[in-house]
């Protein structure tokens, strides 16, 4: 009887011993991190819709490394580094998630699907009702997206990488994914992971920032809701198609994002019930599920281990922090312009993490004054934040590649 090596039976464990020690340690850390993400997601401490599939993917892929040949190790999940068409055709018949990665992830389609879902759930009328406050706050809330770029360059990242990590300040996961896929394909996995991890922390972190920067007296300011104008569906549709066309003409590279978002808005306003239920149900949740799962699976130690990861972690949190501060500065500007009638907490909603920052803003205001309602103004700022983030993504994707 031939000798049966225990290694050939349990290859997941054997590959830990066979490979580089640092990679083996990273795999164990990532398995534990994946389990922690599932736990934190299930407990609703982190965003469960993303964190549960992501944690599952992360833990499993790092446990499931095997010997593909006598000398090479890998997984049969997905290989993000393949670009040769012949190899790609071959690997698509082996790695079970490769078709989804190739046809929806690496070309940004999944980001567009999610953006379409956001569009369907968006009430653009609040932007049209309060255009000045919404846009001013949203522009201020891009402080992190703008300032992180030169800081990242100063810390040694290339222009493309710096722009990609700076987009974390836009607080929009699909936008970060899209920008990094366009500009920094080698780093898109760690950048997107950093973005989604931090975005799910905003619900816990931003309330402290609000309490630090806005005194309780100002947090409790009651805003006048009777002055909010009505906007008809026809006006919203006309605004959507004109804005989408103008922005696509200005930033053709980001046109898929613009089209997805404004198409979602138009479908909602046109009252196309079958499309609405399809986009906000199966399309949005299906895309979110596979986005989380693929992000987790892409966290295989060999893929994610990058000497720049620490810099990305620092810059990601810096970018979100600056954007939060910028948003509150915008809120204060509106407070002074309106002579004290505008609640500065609305500013945090300019950070376009829909609907997290919106909920955070209303929650903090309610704690200070249970009769104060800011939601209509906060929705306007939130949606303007999405639009300004998309514009900044367009500017970065268009201009950064031509910088020397």
């Amino acid at each position: 009887m031939n000798d049966i090596s225990i290694i050939s039976i349990f290859q997941g464990i054997a590959t830990l011993a066979a490979g580089d020690t640092s990679i083996a340690i990273a795999r164990i850390v990532l398995i534990l991190l994946g389990i922690a993400l599932v736990y934190l997601g299930a407990k609703n401490i982190l965003e469960p819709l993303i964190m549960i599939p992501m944690g599952f993917g992360m833990a499993t892929v790092n446990a499931a490394v095997l010997f593909l040949s006598a000398k090479t190790m890998g997984t049969i999940f997905v290989d993000p580094m393949i670009s040769d068409p012949a190899q790609l055709m071959n690997i698509m018949q082996i790695d079970f998630l490769q078709p989804i990665y190739t046809f929806t992830f690496s070309n940004g389609l999944i980001a567009c699907f999610i953006f379409m879902g956001i569009g369907v759930m968006t009430e653009v009328g609040y932007v049209l009702a309060n255009p000045f406050s919404s846009m001013l706050i949203a522009i201020c809330a891009e402080l992190g997206t703008v300032l992180t770029f030169p800081i990242a360059v100063a810390m040694g990242l290339s222009y493309n990488e710096a722009a990609s990590i700076a987009m974390v300040g836009g607080a929009d996961g699909p936008m970060v994914l899209y920008t990094s896929l366009m500009l920094a394909k080698d780093l898109f996995v760690p950048i997107t992971i950093v973005a989604y991890l931090y975005l799910s922390l905003t619900y816990g972190g931003y309330p402290y920032l609000i309490r630090l920067l806005v005194p309780k007296r100002l947090r409790g300011i009651q805003m006048d809701l009777s002055k909010i104008p009505n906007v008809t569906p026809g006006e919203k549709i006309a605004f959507s198609i004109i804005t989408c066309t103008v922005l696509s003409l200005l930033f053709p590279v980001a046109a898929p994002l613009f089209m997805s978002f404004f198409l979602g808005v138009t479908v909602k306003e046109a009252g196309l019930k079958h499309y609405i239920s399809f986009i906000e149900g199966p399309l949005l949740y299906g895309s979110t599920f596979f986005l989380g799962l693929l992000l987790g699976v892409l966290c295989e130690a060999n893929t994610i281990m990058n000497p720049k990861i620490l810099i990305l972690l620092v810059l990601g949190i810096l970018s979100l922090l600056l954007s939060g501060i910028g948003g509150i500065i915008g809120g204060y500007l509106m407070y002074f312009i309106s002579k004290g009638r505008f609640n500065p907490v609305v500013g945090i909603a300019g950070v376009s993490c829909i609907p997290t920052t919106l909920k955070v803003a209303q929650k903090e205001v309610t704690q200070a004054n249970q009769y104060a309602i800011i939601i209509p103004y906060a929705i306007g700022a939130n949606i303007s934040g999405v639009i300004t983030s998309a514009i900044l993504a367009g500017i970065y994707v268009t201009i950064v590649p031509v910088l020397k």
Binding site: V127, L128, A129, P131, M135, S226, K227, I228, P229, N230, V231, E235, A238, F239, I242, T243, V246, L249, L250, I391
Partner: protein, 61 residues
């Protein structure tokens, strides 16, 4: 009132597409700093045009 709103919509749309014209057509033959200024002006005009459209939707609820 309706006439005033239509003016906002027409002026805003014209301004927005005028900005596009500056960015995509008029700035193309330029080079160096004049191209940069033309691009900045074009982008600003377009965004201002979109902002002007939003003013056309303002009325009391």
């Amino acid at each position: 009132m309706i006439k005033k709103r239509i003016i906002y919509w027409v002026a805003g749309t014209s301004l927005a597409f005028g900005g596009v014209l500056v960015v995509r057509v008029m700035s193309q033959p330029l080079s160096g700093s004049s191209k940069l200024y033309a691009l900045i002006a074009g982008y600003t005009i377009s965004i201002l045009g979109l902002f002007l459209i939003t003013l056309g939707t303002r009325r009391k609820g």
